[in-house]
Amino acid sequence: MCCLPPEAGDFGDAGTYLAERLTTFMRTLRNNAFAVGLKESEDAARVLASPLVARPTGLRSALKALVCARRSDWLKFDEVFDAFWLGRGMRRVVPLTSRAQSSKRTERRQLSGPEVEQKTEAGLGEQVPASGEEQNDSGSSPARMEGASRRERLAETDFRKIHDPKAIAEAHALAARLARRMRTRLSRRERVRAKGRRIDMRRTIRRNVSHGGVPIELVWRKRKRKPLRLVVLLDASGSMSLYTAVFVRFIHGVLDNFREAEAFLFHTRLVHVSNAMREKDAARALERLSLLAQGVGGGTRIGESLATFNRWHAKSVIHSRTCVMIISDGYDTGPPEAMAVEMQRLAKRCKRIVWLNPMIGWDDYEPSARGMQAALPHIDLFATAHNLKSLAALEPYLVRL
């Protein structure tokens, strides 16, 4: 398909060939979650017709400036570009049905109906970039799937198959209940509003200068409402695979119902998934999510993921009334000190940290995971939750936050 190197005959009509390749490239970008529309394609064609293309790096830089819209795109672009135009370090996405069935017994139960199967087949056929080291020993050791591995895994966990309308409806109902009950607080700060309870003297005088100082138009002030913002960080590593489905649905509900909410997924890396998950149609949201969440089901680097969060996202995502909810079993492959430091940073930034750990209920589990120990002092609510029911049982505690 698109990853074939150009053949000798193709250069006969280089212009058309390039234009076609460009279209395919745009589609690849779209599949990699870049926001590329008609306008971008049109402008890309103009770039292609300009003298910029004469230099090999020109095209790359130009397209990069054109199609990127945020830092995550910026970091991802070079990889996608190289994979497409230079055929370097890429691989196909493994067909998603075969492996998943053998390895994930529990989730298979939720496979519902033929239409899901169908979608899987028609779905992503494009390639995704691979990290170089992975390619060398792909498919070598089956042992790396056990427990916490440091290596990223191919997108074997397919979020699309957790599309179960009933379960989604339940998760949404719970999220809606929470959203209603987690209180919106009035702050003492005020801001200008069209209707309000007090007159803003300064602005009223200023505005009515044009009427010779006669206060005809009044400017009002009203107290600011600060809705609680919920930021969910979901551990999607291999050890959590039993529970991922439940929480992904819950997150979809949270993003739909809370006025302000953000969602992140982490395993060996941290991915911001709010935009993909905001899709109203659950099936589509999950589809976009599986595209984003490469490497899901592999090892966990909680400390590193938290560091990424603190460094790049916390500033824009956390405000004075933010509750951070971390859903993870606390099995970290990184050093526990790193985790302690990052948790401390996070605790300084936000009002409340909830840590939901699906493993607490288990007999042989104690938060021995050293990372977990390190994190405990900074957590406001540490509770168990492994399915929707236990999540619902937590409602009163969450509401009080």
């Binding site: 926001a35 529309g37 770039v47 020109g58 400036a65 990127c68 819209a69 945020r70 910026w74 935009n275």
Partner: protein, 315 residues
Amino acid sequence: MPKACFQHGAISGTQGAHLRIAMTLSREQISERLAAAGYIADRELPVALQLMDMLGRPLLLEGEAGVGKTEVAKALAAVHGTGLIRLQCYEGLDQSTALYEWNYQRQLLAIRARESSGADPRTVEQDIFSERFLLERPLLAAIRRDDRPVLLIDEIDRADEEFEAFLLELLSDFQVSIPELGTIKARSIPRVVLTSNSTRELSDALRRRCLYHYVDYPDVERETRIILTRVPGTATALALQIARMVEGVRKEEVKKVPGVAETLDWAAALVGLDVKNLQDDPETVHETLRCLLKTQEDRARFTTEVSARLLGKVA
């Protein structure tokens, strides 16, 4: 109300495109002129700046505080030899401070003055809503200039969402309607540069409208060149040492990562203290490190041992 319709000499579509192509500078020219203006760009920025002219899109710059986002706009103005108009955004920024406002005081005075002379009220009204009484704010000023100025909208993430929506409208139409005066079309399309520190997530619409460039901390080589251009009198060897040292500091766990401005301060301090080689004078180096470290915590972390260790790597 009488309407004095103002139709400024707006460039029509095709003509504008023509002009634009004629004025497009090549990438090398842009890099050279940026360097001449004192801005050492990375590999990708000149292409983005060239695209701005070619496609007529605004440029959105993101990056950590202190990497020189605002400098890009200043240098761009120098590259094209046009003026720079700056709009600093803040919470509560509204149209009357960003776009235009009537000069009420002058209007009142004018009315009072004419009251006694018994002038026709209608002419008075027409007069006080004329150009003379209009206060231009940055956005209006930018679209009424002929020389395609650089319009810098700084820290757009601090403005409210409503203002962002309004800005989006202005950036696509480049015209403003003033009820008393009529529609003012842009005489020339300004080159728009937006910067953001990502304290708030910008709307997708705005992001898609813009070209994007992420400004990162410079690498050692680029930072050396920056020091050499900005701090005259620095020896190349010293500049290289400084750049390496700063890179080391950035890799440490610091709360406030030093930006380019801090590097320049430090370089100026070292030059001022007549340091020729960082290795010769570890004590001065440690003392002056406060140019880079701006919080109490960071300064406490950087003991003499830490700075000695970093110095060891610099050699």
